[in-house]
């Protein structure tokens, strides 16, 4: 797979959200809130994810003391007219990196849809 290639709908994606034992920013049932998938200005319209097939949950979450990890099928991305492209980091530090593209800053449908179609990944041990 080359940089910029479109990711197939069968692929699963990882997205992490900030949440500490003291400050829980997930839903009461442990699922993701829409804010986990909300764009910010610095994203320049592209939401960072990792491809599940090219990493591990432990690597994707990096610091389980600060983040929760959520898994999402790429099919859900395409359901809201977005797409995911492969974007390995140039410095070689993350060959699983990909970008969800096509989202707008004023779009609050896609973040909610992606959150509702994601599920939390429990990290057993680091």
């Amino acid at each position: 797979m080359n940089k910029g290639d479109k990711i197939p709908i069968e692929e699963f994606l990882y997205r992490r959200g900030f949440s500490t034992p003291e400050k829980k920013y997930c839903n009461p049932d442990g699922s993701a809130t829409s804010r986990v998938f909300k764009l910010r200005e610095k994203d320049e319209g592209m939401l960072s994810v990792d491809l599940k097939s090219r990493t591990t949950a432990e690597r994707a979450i990096s610091d389980p003391g600060k983040f929760m990890l959520f898994e999402l099928k790429n099919e859900s991305v395409e359901e809201v007219a977005l797409e995911t492209v492969y974007d390995p980091l140039d410095d070689g530090s993350n060959n699983a990196h990909a970008l969800i593209i096509g989202m707008q800053m004023d779009d609050d449908i896609a973040p909610g849809h992606l959150a509702r179609n994601s599920k939390r990944v429990i990290i057993k041990s680091i």
């Binding site: 009461p28 764009l39 910010r40 779009d107 909610g112 849809h113």
Partner: protein, 163 residues
């Protein structure tokens, strides 16, 4: 009408009965006690903990103390206007007995309120940005849609959610 009065003297007694806990979706727990034949009243030093949407009020208080970069990824601190607008709508929803599933701060200073129907099949997110507010409708089937939101629209939002 039957009346059950719960008089809690310690927080642990309250937790034991689990009328309201932070880990159970509020919509379900509250509705267990919304009945034409049974009314539950609470009295005692921990009555405040039983207030509908108490967890949401507490979270909004916590969010007001967040600073820029609270998520260590350059998120803006929650906007005072967004917090104020969210708090006002939470008060309105509480006054009419509508449970709120959750609230969360967002990366651009916004505050999100997530309201779900009893069956947890439909939901509406009310999102308060510093300069605008939106309602996002998530139907059981079909495509979600988004509208501008003002507090005046609350009756139609709830009508859609609870119909």
């Amino acid at each position: 009408m039957h009346t059950l009065i719960a008089n809690y003297s310690t927080p642990s007694e309250f937790q034991r009965d689990q009328y309201l806990t932070a880990t159970v979706p509020t919509a379900f727990t509250i509705d267990r006690f919304r009945s034409s034949s049974l009314s539950v009243f609470a009295d005692g030093p921990h009555t405040q903990e039983l207030r509908l949407n108490n967890r949401i009020f507490k979270l909004l208080e916590e969010f007001s103390e967040l600073e820029d970069n609270w998520d260590e990824d350059e998120a803006n601190a929650p906007s005072k206007i967004a917090l104020s607008n969210a708090h006002f709508v939470v008060q309105l929803l509480t006054s009419i007995g509508q449970p709120i599933f959750n609230t969360a701060p967002g990366p651009t200073g916004e505050i999100m309120l997530d309201i779900r129907d009893i069956a947890n099949s439909k939901s509406v997110e009310l999102i308060f940005y510093p300069s605008r507010s939106v309602a996002v409708y998530f139907p059981e089937n079909g495509r979600p849609f988004q509208r501008d939101f003002q507090a005046d629209n609350l009756p139609e939002v709830l009508r859609w959610l609870n119909q």
